[in-house]
């Protein structure tokens, strides 16, 4: 549990926020460029001189008026916005820099070989950072942070400069590692997909202040304000474990969804389903003869303005949960959709986490 109540002035810019970050979870920090995300992470790491207020980590005071624990004693790792590799050292020396002694390492969360493998660093071990491409440097920075076996991991736009394949791979493994060791992570990211895939909690910042905080589900509306458009996150639980044609049955309240199986550990936990509103279509009755095989009954709760004037966001209730659909006003008229009516919502899930 990380408790932060800080204030910091840099020229005109003022960071001022109080928040209790959840232990053992991934908290995404989201906000426009220049709103103070990096400064927040650096403050937590103890790298911002002139910080006022308190930072507490699991009953240890890290920063208070009378007492400041040094960065190196906080047991954290921070992946900075730039890789900042040690230029005079080889990649291997960079990676080993933060690693505990071998005797301690045995029992550690992240094993050297696994991390090298995960980030595909094998071919570069003896190179100097200057001989790596941008993405390769970024991967070394991530690996270096993980290998220091932090109690708390701070990631500042860690996936910048990575290609999509590497990114997916790393995010999946990061999630796996995070869950296995209940590692608390603060993740700064501009990409909703990264946030959705990794985060449990979301903190949204604006101009150095907290705008809102909450679980991913609660915050989905806020994330929607960003350009990729409105979206919803549905909680689903494993069904009766019927597998058919490579599809797995999941329960969304009373209704059943068939989703492609995933590599995610098939434990009995419920999962999150990310659905972009633009991917949801509405029909007044169940559609036949279509490949849309996930159609759920839903009730129209209300309407919201969408970014484009010709469209509306339709708010739907599916059991207890909220689903958003982006449809044109023309369709609303044509289908005569009104609050309270029941409709069939068809969608393809964008991502299952």
């Amino acid at each position: 549990m990380l408790h932060v109540d800080i204030e910091l002035q840099r020229g005109d810019f003022r960071l001022q926020l109080a928040h209790q970050f959840a232990a053992h979870k991934v908290t995404a920090i989201f906000g426009p460029s220049g709103c103070g995300k990096s400064t927040l992470l650096r403050s937590i790491a103890g790298l911002e001189p002139g910080l006022r207020g308190t930072v507490c980590w699991q009953n240890n005071i890290w920063h208070a008026q009378e007492r400041i624990v040094k960065t190196e004693q906080r047991g954290i790792a921070l992946v900075f916005q730039q890789p900042h590799l040690f230029t005079t050292k080889t990649v291997e020396a960079n990676l080993r820099y933060g690693m505990p002694r071998a005797s301690v390492l045995k029992a550690c969360a992240m094993q050297f070989e696994d991390i090298i493998e995960l980030l595909s660093l094998q071919p570069f071990m003896q190179r100097k950072p200057a001989q790596l491409s941008g993405g390769q440097q970024q991967r070394v920075a991530i690996a270096r942070a993980l290998l220091s076996q932090p109690q708390l991991l701070l990631l500042d736009e860690p996936m910048n400069g990575l290609d999509q394949a590497a990114k997916s791979q790393i995010m999946a493994d990061l999630k796996r590692i995070q869950q296995r060791f209940a590692l608390p992570i603060l993740l700064v990211s501009h990409h909703v997909d990264e946030v959705v895939q990794l985060a449990d909690e979301v903190v949204i910042m604006r101009e150095g202040k907290l705008l809102s905080t909450g679980t991913l589900q609660q915050q989905v509306g806020q994330l929607s304000l960003h350009d990729e458009g409105p979206l919803s996150v549905l909680s689903i639980s494993p069904g009766d474990n019927n597998q058919k044609d490579g599809l797995l049955a999941w329960q969304l309240g009373q209704q059943t969804l068939w989703l492609p199986t995933t590599g995610l550990p098939a434990n009995s936990d419920s999962k999150r389903l990310l659905v972009w509103a633009r991917d949801v279509s509405l029909a007044t009755g169940p559609l036949k003869n279509t490949s849309l095989n996930n159609q759920v009954r839903a009730q129209i709760v209300g309407f919201e303005r969408a970014q484009h004037d010709a469209e509306m966001v339709v708010e739907l209730a599916v059991g207890e949960q909220q689903l958003r659909a982006l449809v044109t006003k023309a369709s609303i008229e044509r289908l005569n959709l009104r609050a309270g009516y029941c409709v069939y919502a068809a969608f393809k899930a964008a991502a299952l986490h």
Binding site: A45, L47, E72, H84, T87, K128, A130
Partner: protein, 229 residues
């Protein structure tokens, strides 16, 4: 070369070695402070460090002689503690050399420390490296060039300097008569051949040492050229 020449050689190497070593030890924290702290004191301290340079060496030696000698502030204090005053002793010329070469050690180091990547230091701290470890693993390798300049300039300057040493040390064979003083003495005695031989030896030796140091430094440190990508 006779035995007094050899004595002078040994003495010179000792003086050069100790001066360089002690200078690095003194200059490093001073330079760190100058480079990293923005105090109003930095500019005056930096200026004061450079001041011994502007005095003619013998004059500086003269003042040091006064201060370190039996009637001077430092010497008298030492004598009142039952110790020896420092004029005409190896310790004395060591202090003189250190003072006189101080700016050559402090200034390049200060500049070197100013150039350090704060990013790398910050990363190292987050990876659990305390001050000492950061210093040895990040600062020293990045400032290798600065340390080298500090060391070679101090060493070379100590080898060649003789004004301060002559005045403060009195050129006593085996005690304070270093090679530069000896060469000066030979030249003064119109013993040109001896002076030339010793000079050539000193030049050759210095050249070899400096060559070795600079060649070692040339080892590629990663080709700054390509960091731009």
């Amino acid at each position: 070369m006779d035995s007094s020449d050899w004595q002078a050689v040994t003495l010179t190497l000792q003086l050069g070695g100790y001066t360089t070593l002690i200078l690095l030890v003194i200059a490093t924290p001073l330079a760190w402070w100058l480079a990293r702290q923005r105090s109003w004191l930095s500019a005056p301290v930096q200026a004061i460090v450079a001041l011994p340079l502007v005095l003619p060496p013998t004059v500086l030696g003269f003042y040091l002689l006064i201060w370190l000698g039996p009637e001077g502030f430092v010497g008298a204090t030492l004598e009142s503690l039952g110790l020896q005053h420092l004029a005409f002793s190896f310790e004395g010329i060591l202090i003189g050399s250190i003072l006189y070469s101080l700016p050559f050690a402090v200034q390049p180091l200060t500049e070197s420390f100013r150039q350090i990547s704060q990013g790398q230091l910050d990363v190292a701290a987050t990876l659990g490296a305390g001050w000492w470890r950061r210093f040895w693993t990040i600062v020293v390798p990045s400032c290798q060039g600065g340390f080298l300049i500090a060391a070679t300039l101090s060493f070379a300057h100590t080898l060649g300097e003789f004004g301060v040493i002559l005045m403060l040390g009195g050129s006593i064979p085996g005690e304070t008569q270093v090679l530069s003083v000896l060469i000066y003495d030979h030249a003064e005695a119109m013993n040109y051949q001896a002076a030339e031989n010793l000079s050539l030896g000193l030049l050759l030796f210095s050249f070899v040492v400096l060559m070795a140091v600079y060649t070692w430094q040339k080892r590629p440190t990663g080709g700054a050229r390509y960091v731009a990508r």
